[in-house]
Amino acid sequence: MEALVNDLGFIIGTTLMYSTPLIFTATGSVITERSGIINIGLEGMMYFGAFVGAAVAYFTQDPWIGFLCAGLAGAFLALFHAIATVTFSAEQIVSGIAINFLGPGLALFLSRLFFDGATQTLTIPNKMPLPLNFLFGDGKLFASTGFMDLVFNQFATVYLSIALVFVAWFFLYKTRLGMRLMAVGEHPEAADSLGISVYRIRYGAVMTSGFLAGLGGAAMSIAVVSRFSNTLISGHGFIALAAMIFGKWRPQGALLACLIFGGAKGLEIYLGAKGFPVPSSILATLPYVLTIIILVGWVGRSRPPAAIGKIFDKGEA
């Protein structure tokens, strides 16, 4: 019985840990899509963020500085996306694809430069802290092993990501800026005719999504694992995108979807650890297969923001 509870704890714990990078990225993606700009460059932004986060955390020995710099790195790439799509009305998908080449390219180039030609960083000295760790151990509130420890003794990034979803929800539905952002994504001409700057709001939204994707990448490279390597991100940006769509362009929905995808990963690791008689390479496809199934079955059924992907220009000659 206790073994079963512990197994469950293990699955929940790994689910939370692996969902975290997705939650950061998907929440950012909700923000940008709600303003009317598609960002499929999330993958590249996560990748670059993961590298910058690990590299900075390695050199400064401070995971928090690394984390912050990862966000800035993502926002830096997003700036290009914003310039291309908002200012120059470029095709949003094409620009996003370009970012997906640029992000990894830049990361690997810098990695070779700073880590003796290696395509991965060295192990960082300090990972993200476990903020609730003081509750667990001998003579503390909970034992240092077991269900409670497995589920609740998580990295700071895990708690941050969940808090972020609440903040994003509050921002979108309860604040003035959030309402304006959604108006811009639905009907930019209407917003414009009421004196709202469509361009400024879209810049802000795209940069925010880049920042959060960068954080998502770092949540991978300095918490889930403790270094950046070139296969670390492999599709997480796209999974986050799928989660955002599955979550119907809502932060709370995206959170749920990320937990489902993270759950697939948790299950994969659990089954692998148990020596389940299926090759690990097949198990590892689980999250991706799930992504495809969900996208095929779901996309048609939910309604995206009306102005998404469309060009807005003020029509002045």
């Binding site: 604040t175 003035r176 309402m179 959604m182 639905e186 005719s193 004196g195 000659a317």
Partner: protein, 510 residues
């Protein structure tokens, strides 16, 4: 009409010029409006009315000319400045965020907030209710835009302007999309507003509306100022000929119909709307060669769904549609158009009628691009396409005469002419025309009506759907009245009695 304060000029536009590239949309237009006045702007489609008002509202910057508000010269660089000077505008095509509530739409850009930019929707709703009661603009502040009628949406647009403290209200073709009942409500609202000292500039193509609500009327033709007249001193005919620059006849002159054999038969048709409610309830209808059958009815009695089902855009639940004795129930739109030769002028020209990003020539061949001479072995022949387009533009008087203009940059009325040109030149056996003259000027209306009659005289069948009873009675040979998804009566247009039809439209028995 007594509320005008002639000592106060609220709006003065002096020699305003607006050019788009080389094209002069407004050519030295002047306009003076006083406090409490209702001032109408009259002009053909593409005359430059909307452009002029966009200059006043700051959406466009005039190329030349001066604007004075309340006697002070101002430069209106963007809508914020216009709003600041007390100018509000209700656009020809509404600018509302569909999934937002009424309140959210009204306060957008000038939200009531608590600290730190947190919305205070309760306070906003209260304020909205106050204003709506004051002017008799009934709306439900919590309803979503996508769930309310066009008339209510328009009230939301007016409230949006009033909420921003508008003293000068521009209404661009406010009645084009309203039902007769809603138009009467709007008239009352306009009276309430002027009684409160507001100034109104209204654009409309309907001359009797000008006679009914306006004090003065400024007429423009092809971007040029023609005259400003006191409405009480002119007749509708005089207004029309000033606007078009020639005599126009309101009556449709046509020979008696040469009714031929039956082409289209609809039997016991049942169709559901988007919400899954059955809105066409066992409707039956026959259409013969050489006749125009008018369908009279109040908006929302199943007309749109009937047409969509006929054109293959909506599933038929039960019943049959037969064209020349072939069953076409639930056939694809492509089959219906090209094999069965039924063409339609759709009700919503921007959503269903045109690809707004395409140019006029491309829009004109949307249904025939795969045929010769427009394409050969899958390759488009642009020379032929533009030759055809130039021909259509001449024949149907689309302005400006430029096949390379995008549909988006045409005026509303000229967009409609492009669609009519496309469908009529297809020469279909059955032409379905839904609201074909919505938003058209009287000259263009005369033209469209003549096109429908010509089609009939060449032995083709025409099905006309309109909410305007006048139009139905003038143009049709036979009139069917639709009510709650069924045909409740049929009369000959010759001896049609407006009151009887009106009664049947409201569900009354005759």
């Amino acid at each position: 009409m007594t509320s005008i304060d002639f000592s106060r000029k609220t709006v003065e536009m002096i020699d305003v010029v607006k050019k788009f590239g080389d094209f002069v949309a407004n050519d030295r237009i002047s306009l003076t409006v006083h406090k409490g006045e209702v001032h109408a702007l009259l002009g053909e489609n593409g005359a430059g009315k909307t452009t002029l008002m966009n200059c006043l509202y700051g959406l466009y910057r005039p190329t030349e000319g001066k604007i004075r508000i309340n006697g002070k010269e101002v430069v209106i660089t963007d809508p914020n400045v216009a709003i600041h000077h007390g100018i509000g505008m209700v656009h020809q095509h509404f600018k509302l965020v569909e999934p937002f509530t009424v309140t959210q739409n009204i306060i957008l850009g000038q939200e009531t907030t608590k600290m730190m930019g947190i919305l205070d929707l309760a306070a906003a709703e209260k304020k909205v209710s106050e204003i709506s009661e004051k002017y008799g603009l009934t709306v439900d502040p919590r309803a979503k835009i996508e769930d309310i009628s066009v008339g209510s949406q328009q009230r939301v647009e007016i409230l949006k302007a009033l909420y921003r403290g508008a003293e000068i209200l521009i209404l661009d073709e406010p009645t084009a999309v309203l039902t007769p009942g809603e138009i009467q409500e709007l008239v009352t609202i306009i009276r309430n507003l002027t009684a409160e000292g507001k100034t109104i500039i209204i654009i409309t193509h309907k001359l009797h509306e000008i006679k009914q609500v306006a004090d003065y009327c400024t007429i423009i033709r092809r971007g040029k100022f023609i005259d400003t007249v006191e409405v009480a001193g002119v007749t509708e005919h005089e207004l029309a000929s000033k606007m078009v620059g020639r005599e126009v006849s309101f009556a449709v002159d046509k020979r008696p119909a040469q009714r031929g054999e039956r082409v289209l038969a609809i039997e016991n048709l049942v169709v559901k709307d988007n919400r899954g409610i059955q809105v066409v309830n066992g409707l039956s209808l026959d259409l013969h060669k050489g006749e125009i059958l008018g369908i009279a009815g109040v908006d929302g009695n199943g007309q749109s769904e009937l047409i969509e089902a006929l054109m293959g855009l909506r599933k038929v639940q039960s019943g049959r549609i037969r064209m020349r004795d072939k069953d076409i129930t639930n056939a694809s739109p492509k089959q219906i158009i090209s094999e069965h030769s039924i063409c339609s002028i759709p009700e919503d020209r921007q959503k269903r009628g045109l690809v707004m990003e395409f140019d006029v020539a491309e829009n004109l061949i949307l249904e025939n691009y795969q045929r010769r001479p427009f394409s050969e072995r899958g390759v488009l022949d642009h020379q032929e396409i533009y030759k055809f387009a130039d021909q259509c533009i001449m024949e149907f008087d689309v302005r400006p005469q430029d096949a390379q203009m995008t549909a988006k940059s045409l005026s509303g009325g000229n967009q409609q002419k492009v669609i009519i040109a496309r469908e009529v030149s297809n020469d279909p056996e059955v032409l379905v025309a839904s609201q074909p003259t919505r938003g058209l000027d009287v000259g263009a209306i005369e033209y469209v009506h003549r096109a429908l009659v010509e089609q009939r005289d060449r032995g083709k069948a025409v099905l006309l759907i309109s909410f305007e009873l006048d139009e139905i009675i003038n143009v049709s040979d036979r009139i069917a009245v639709i009510f709650e998804g069924r045909i409740v009566g049929e009369v000959d247009a010759e001896n049609a009695d407006e009151n009887n039809i009106g009664l049947m439209m409201a569900g009354g028995r005759v």
